[in-house]
């Protein structure tokens, strides 16, 4: 693992060296016309740093292209589902778990977090059904907040490992088997599942997100997971070691409770990985407004995660990936205040930041995305495609992502309040 990481960093450094060689010429040229500090700030933020980070991820994922298979385990497990007004999806979520091709028993703990709709009725009606290796329990948590609901569920878990699934996430029929195989055989503290978009065809916003989940998020998790440092074992679908989670005191009451938990586990030098073959389909925001709010929450969660632990205590990998997360803040700023003004300048005939080279960078991005796409394809997991979605993802998604993230950082730094729902 160390050698592979070293080779990955070497490759990324070579890439950075070559791109810096060309960037010096570029920056010197543009510095003739614009303030040189700003020019370097933009070029590092929109070209050099993203190039370094992307090339490291690309190369690492190439050398880890082969999918690792783990022997089957049949140990009993628990699934915590937190629900707050989830009447539309809760039945399907539970049914997908009950229909799992899993060799052990599954105990489903559905935690109702003060729902005011018919969620409770839907859960109780599901309990009445009989499933061969599955039991469903209704748990009521009167303290609002996802972390409180999760902790309620955690208190009832008796199995060695447990899984968290969001009430609007539908698991592929062998997802639990795959994720439990992984966590049992690798002795991890947590394993993130591979999330894909369920409602792909709903709107162009969901079509865009389909490729964000399929290509970006999955690639980042695979990169981090290759070095046992997946920074986010997302609450929507992840498996955890019960003792390890209880040792760190469960979930903190904050917006990015899953991020903070993963960081806390990593700080204790525990292993956090990713299982690409354990797939869950999540319901994603359908409008720009809801997507914006979601990404804002994720950004707040990231800052909460970063500020909750001392990454220096963790492994070298944790230090590297934490540093990368800090860089993301800079990248978002550079995108908004460097790349977008660069586009506006290009409209006026000044191709200093956005021009032919941007098209070349776009081509390289497409090649990278194709490699990520083929990796997902080899999993033989069904997912939908949409050309419109891919184009929108390529050209527009980052605008929403960066704006919402900046809003999130701003909210967090100014101590503003955000809510789970």
């Amino acid at each position: 693992m160390k050698i592979k990481f070293f080779i990955t960093m070497l490759f990324a450094m070579i890439w950075l060296f070559i791109s810096t060689y060309f960037a010096i010429w570029w920056a010197n040229d543009v510095s003739n016309y614009l303030p040189s500090f700003y020019v370097w700030w933009v070029i590092i933020g929109i070209a050099l740093l993203p190039g370094f980070l992307m090339s490291a991820m690309f190369f690492s994922n190439i050398i880890h292209f082969k999918l690792k298979k783990h022997p089957n385990t049949c140990q009993d497990t628990s699934v915590i589902i937190c629900a707050y007004n989830e009447e539309e999806t809760i039945e399907k979520t539970i049914k997908c778990i009950c229909d799992q091709e899993y060799t052990g028993n599954i105990r489903i703990l559905v935690v109702d977090n003060k729902s005011t709709d018919t969620t409770k009725i839907k859960i109780l009606s599901m309990i009445k059904n009989h499933y061969s290796n599955c039991t469903i329990e209704y748990v009521y948590c009167d303290k609002p907040g996802k972390s409180n609901a999760l902790n309620c569920g955690l208190a009832l878990v008796k199995t060695k490992h447990f899984i968290t699934v969001d009430a609007d996430t539908f698991l592929h029929n062998c997802a639990i088997q795959k994720i439990i195989n992984h966590i049992e055989n690798k002795k991890c503290s947590c394993v993130a599942g591979n999330l894909l978009v369920y409602n792909v065809k709903e709107t162009f916003v969901t079509k865009m997100q389909n490729y964000d989940y399929l290509l970006s998020i999955a690639a980042i998790k695979r990169f981090q997971g290759s070095y046992q440092t997946t920074l986010v074992a997302q609450g929507a679908f992840s498996a955890y070691n019960t003792c390890d989670v209880k040792d760190v005191g469960g979930w903190e009451d904050c917006l990015g409770e899953d991020i903070v938990l993963t960081y806390q586990l990593l700080e204790q030098k525990k292993i956090s990985t990713y299982e690409p073959s354990a797939v869950g389909y999540t319901t994603t925001p359908t409008t720009i407004n809801t997507l914006y709010n979601q990404r804002k929450r994720w950004a707040i969660g990231m800052i909460e995660g970063l500020s909750s632990v001392n990454a220096c205590k963790g492994s070298y990998y944790l230090k590297y990936f934490t540093l990368v997360n800090y860089c993301i803040i800079y990248l978002d700023l550079a995108f908004i205040f460097g790349f977008i003004p660069g586009i506006i300048l290009a409209f006026y005939g000044y191709y200093y930041f956005v021009g032919c080279l941007t098209l070349f960078a776009l081509l390289i991005s497409i090649i990278m995305f194709l490699s990520f796409y083929f990796f997902q394809k080899q999993l033989n997991i069904p997912f939908k495609n949409s050309l419109v979605g891919f184009i929108c993802f390529l050209f527009f998604f980052q605008f929403i992502q960066s704006a919402a993230s900046l809003h999130g950082y701003f909210t967090k730094f100014t101590k503003g309040k955000e809510f789970w729902k």
Binding site: N32, I336, F337, I340, H407
Partner: protein, 231 residues
């Protein structure tokens, strides 16, 4: 969309526009500078600085900056092949009040060409300038390497402009030698040739201008110098 989100996005968009506006303002000031103002005193020694082989995307801007800083007008003998991609530099030259001259399209040795080819070399540069939307007629021509014969002289007569002092910057010499080449032999009415295709020239230029100004020299374009000398 929640009100807080709307406000933030509005502020973000406003900030992006302010950044873009500042950058555009900065660029506009760069490419559309106020013309260099100069008054010629007939009693003072006057010379003309000329720059060949440009415009060059890497070096011409530095030359223009030095000239603008010291309020010195000059004449740029441009090559037609260098116009494309450097339109902003040419725009800046014209806006600053510098003069443009014709230095052929491909920079060939004109003594080896036929009459038709020679004419074509100069007219192509003029056409290229028009194509780039510059309503500017190149009044003077300068043969590359300063090589010309009787035939070329007959073709262009008074339009043909050479120089009295060669700065020697094309010989890869250092900054000090360029300064000495110019300062030690300059006299009233001289046309001095430089090349805006290297970094040393712009460094030397600053010192040359300072020294010559100290010696009482004033600078002008080729057209004004010839008028002053009644040629």
């Amino acid at each position: 969309m929640r009100i807080k989100n709307r406000y933030f996005i509005l502020i973000l968009i406003l900030s992006i526009f302010i950044t873009s506006f500042y950058l555009l303002y900065h660029l506009d000031k760069r490419f559309n500078p106020k013309p260099i103002t100069f008054n010629i005193d007939e009693n003072k020694p006057t010379i003309a600085l000329t720059f060949d082989d440009g415009p060059n995307s890497s070096y011409t801007q530095n030359i223009l900056d030095v000239l603008y800083e010291y309020n010195v007008p000059a004449t740029f003998f441009i090559c037609g092949k260098n116009i494309e991609g450097n339109e902003k530099l040419i725009k800046q030259m014209i806006a600053s009040g510098h003069e443009l001259g014709n230095h052929t399209y491909n920079h060939p040795d004109l003594t080896t060409l036929s009459n038709a080819e020679i004419i074509n070399e100069f007219s192509l540069t003029q056409e290229k300038l028009y194509e780039a939307n510059f309503d500017y007629t190149l009044k003077y021509v300068r043969p590359p390497y300063g090589r010309y014969d009787e035939n070329i002289q007959n073709l262009y007569q008074e339009q043909l402009i050479l120089w009295q002092i060669d700065s020697g910057d094309w010989e890869n010499i250092n900054e000090i030698d360029i300064i000495n080449n110019v300062v030690e032999s300059v006299k009233h009415g001289d046309i001095i040739v430089f090349h805006d295709d290297n970094n040393t020239t712009s460094k030397a230029l600053k010192n040359i201008i300072i020294k010559l100004k100290d010696e009482g020299y004033q600078f002008t374009t080729v057209t004004n110098l010839l008028q002053l000398l009644h040629i």
